[in-house]
């Protein structure tokens, strides 16, 4: 469970789940690395209570425009930390990591301009960074993925241990969770679960669980609809004192295999 990709439909609450898991794992003694793999949305740093974004790792190789020059000139800069066989978080230059309270954030890259081309290079960098990422015994990486399933096509999930499909109460979200589970099986993922989010009642939770488990998808936990999550999202700030933080405990118990701490 060291490297966990959090996937799902757009708006299902992937970043919210990442922030909740990060806080819960930190409180249980884990060192947490959040990998912002969302090429579009910029705000995960605010949800984690960080004051600024890290520089994207894509800039370590010169950004999309200069990366060609970087590799063609065989310069010192081409010997970037990203080409190491094993990368520890501490190997990364400080501007590429933002940290607070044992939660660190790195960012793969963002789409910056119209007509700049596709995000495939970011997908490759994400896959290779995660593959080479070397975590300590008490360290967990949470990967906040781009919405949808294109990252499976880029092979990003071949570099993680587990997949969590964030599933909200909608038929589309259920169908996508099933597709994510199927794709995870294709790459022989060690574990793949669904996590319910924005669930307004026990009845809806039960119905979703039955539906998912009927499709062969294990459900690792359920986060209720919580006005505090909505309010925090509206204000662009971390979640505080919410039911959602209590709901995530069930998920943490399973991720840590019943253990109370990372240590």
């Amino acid at each position: 469970m060291k490297k966990i990709a959090i996937c799902g439909k757009g708006g299902s609450g992937k970043s919210t789940v990442v922030a909740l898991l990060a806080g819960g794992l930190r409180d249980r003694g884990c060192r947490v690395l959040v990998v912002d793999s969302d090429e579009s949305n910029p705000g995960i740093y605010r949800m984690l209570g960080l004051e600024k974004r890290p520089e994207p790792l894509l800039e370590l190789v010169g950004g999309k425009k200069k990366v060609s020059q970087t590799f063609s000139e065989s310069s010192e800069s081409s010997k970037s930390v990203l080409m190491q066989e094993k990368i520890r978080t501490s190997d990364l230059p400080s501007q590429y990591v933002v940290e607070k309270d044992r939660i660190r954030l790195v960012c793969i890259g963002k789409i910056l301009q119209s007509l700049e081309g596709c995000a495939c290079p970011m997908g490759v960098l994400n896959r290779e960074f995660l593959k080479r990422l070397s975590l300590g015994e008490d360290e967990v990486a949470l990967v906040d993925m781009e919405a949808g399933i294109e990252h499976f096509g880029r092979g990003v999930e071949t570099s993680v241990d587990s997949v969590l499909a964030v599933t909200e109460p909608s038929f589309d979200s259920l169908e996508l969770a099933e597709k994510i589970n199927s794709l995870a099986t294709e790459v022989e993922m060690k574990s793949a679960w669904a996590i319910l989010n924005k669930v307004a009642s026990e009845e809806i939770a039960l119905r979703l669980r039955e539906e998912l488990e009927g499709r062969g998808i294990p459900v690792i936990g359920s986060i209720g609809y919580d006005p505090e999550v909505f309010q925090a999202g509206l204000e662009g700030r971390p979640i505080h004192n919410s039911e959602a933080e209590r709901d995530i405990e069930e998920v943490l118990n399973q991720l840590l295999r019943g253990g109370r701490s990372c240590a």
Binding site: V67, M83, E85, V124, R154
Partner: protein, 86 residues
């Protein structure tokens, strides 16, 4: 995916030689393939086909040499760096 997987064709069979190829440059007597993560290899080859929809490029080649462009990579054990391989 936009980045290509490159295959070499020999005796009617295609064998994958490099993934995530981002740049291909003509070099003396061949083509230099460079992956997005910096792996560089030189093939005495010509392009047989390019399929941009499926991200695959097929080369027809006679020999191959390896260069690492200043980046340490594990030596492959299947003889791919042997000039007589292809």
């Amino acid at each position: 995916m936009c980045l290509a997987t490159v295959y070499v064709e020999k005796d009617g069979q295609q064998e994958e030689v490099m993934r995530d190829v981002a740049w291909i440059r003509p070099q003396s007597g061949g083509l230099q393939l460079i992956s997005f993560m910096g792996e560089s290899r030189l093939f005495q080859a010509e392009v047989k086909s390019i399929d941009l929809v499926n991200g695959s490029i097929v080369l027809a080649s006679m020999t191959t040499n390896s260069s690492q462009n200043g980046i340490q990579l594990e030596e492959e054990s299947d003889g791919r760096n042997d000039p007589s391989y292809i």
